[in-house]
């Protein structure tokens, strides 16, 4: 596994036909402050659309050459960009997931294989292994591909990692928007971390033991653990939802 390995020492350097790096970063400074003006939204859209050719090339390669089925997102939303700028000490021109895609795979073995394949397929990549360093419980592998002067992010998640991520996102939507970035009620945060740790434990066990599909004893234990965890999650969700209604 390649951990944060760069094929190149150069970072992504967006080369805009009409927007200079200074203009992009000044736009980012304004977005950080609050609701954007119409002019700034237009400028931001111009910037986001400039990732289109690189995005197309990468998606096409993943679909046609690697025979995988990614779901792409052509442009990060203005609010997600603004939130990221406020949350992290980062400039707009440094954001690496303006355009990107997501691939869901069954298990860690496939995740490792696809990550290595992506790393070998694209000349300039950087791999961020968030399984080794989870972000507030979020575990996945992100492959950043640098091409045509911009970066495009490929998220590679196992089904279990994706389940946790979608659960966390959904709770951020309807309960507290800060949950997924380590905010909100400390008890809720701990609860999400506990689920993430449980999933990490199963995946680690699976990697270590490499059980065959016929290993009924192993799969029975994991299935029982999952049922218990679902009960715990459902109970917590009921509490969160009833608190929200008050």
């Amino acid at each position: 596994m390649h951990d944060a390995t760069a094929h190149t020492s150069q970072g992504p350097q967006p080369t805009m036909a009409t927007l200079s790096k200074t203009q992009i970063d000044r736009l980012g400074d304004r977005l950080r402050k609050g609701r954007p003006s119409e002019a700034d939204l237009r400028l931001l859209d111009e910037y986001r659309l400039s990732f289109g050719d690189a995005y197309d090339a990468i998606i096409r390669t993943i679909r046609e050459k690697l025979q995988l089925e990614p779901t792409g997102r052509t442009a990060k939303t203005p609010s997600s960009i603004a939130e990221k700028l406020r949350r992290e000490s980062i400039r707009l021109s440094q954001i690496q997931d303006i355009a990107g895609c997501r691939i869901i795979v069954p298990d860690v073995f496939t995740q490792d294989h696809i990550t290595a394949t992506l790393h070998d397929t694209f000349p300039e990549t950087r791999v961020m292994d968030r399984r080794k360093s989870p972000s507030h419980g979020y575990r996945a592998v992100h492959v950043i591909v640098m091409t045509q002067g911009v970066s495009v992010e490929i998220q590679v998640r196992t089904a279990l990692q994706d389940l946790w991520a979608e659960l966390s996102e959904r709770l951020s939507d309807v309960v507290d928007s800060s949950i997924k970035y380590g905010g909100g009620d400390p008890e809720d945060r701990q609860w999400l971390l506990l689920i993430s740790d449980s999933i990490a434990g199963w995946e680690e066990l699976e990697t270590r033991l490499h059980p065959s599909p016929d290993d009924q004893a192993f799969h029975k234990i994991v299935a029982s653990e999952k049922r218990n965890l679902v009960k715990i999650i459902q109970k917590k969700i009921s509490t969160l939802e009833s608190n929200r209604k008050r």
């Binding site: 959904r170 309807v174 679902v230």
Partner: protein
């Protein structure tokens, strides 16, 4: 296929979902931006996202938070690998 989703985060609810053919990407991007402009003008904080998936089944698999409640997402743990 392209899916343009307007999503009300606080309610976890899709407001509109429009589909476009892959060949209509420019039109889809223009429509996305028009909705963003309109919502910004009205000070409405909905998420507007254009997603590019093989079909709706693939979209629902990779972006389930738009379609499923937290309880439904959690329940699927029982059937996961």
């Amino acid at each position: 296929m392209l899916f343009l989703i307007e999503y009300k985060r606080s309610e976890g609810r899709i407001v509109t979902l429009k589909t476009f053919d892959d060949t209509d990407r420019s039109k889809a991007e223009r429509t996305r931006f028009e909705i963003e402009l309109e919502l910004n003008q009205k000070k409405i904080d909905h998420e507007v996202v254009l997603l590019d998936a093989a079909d709706e089944r693939a979209l629902r698999r990779t972006h389930r938070r738009y379609f499923e409640t937290a309880a439904q997402i959690a329940n699927s743990l029982n059937g996961s690998s």
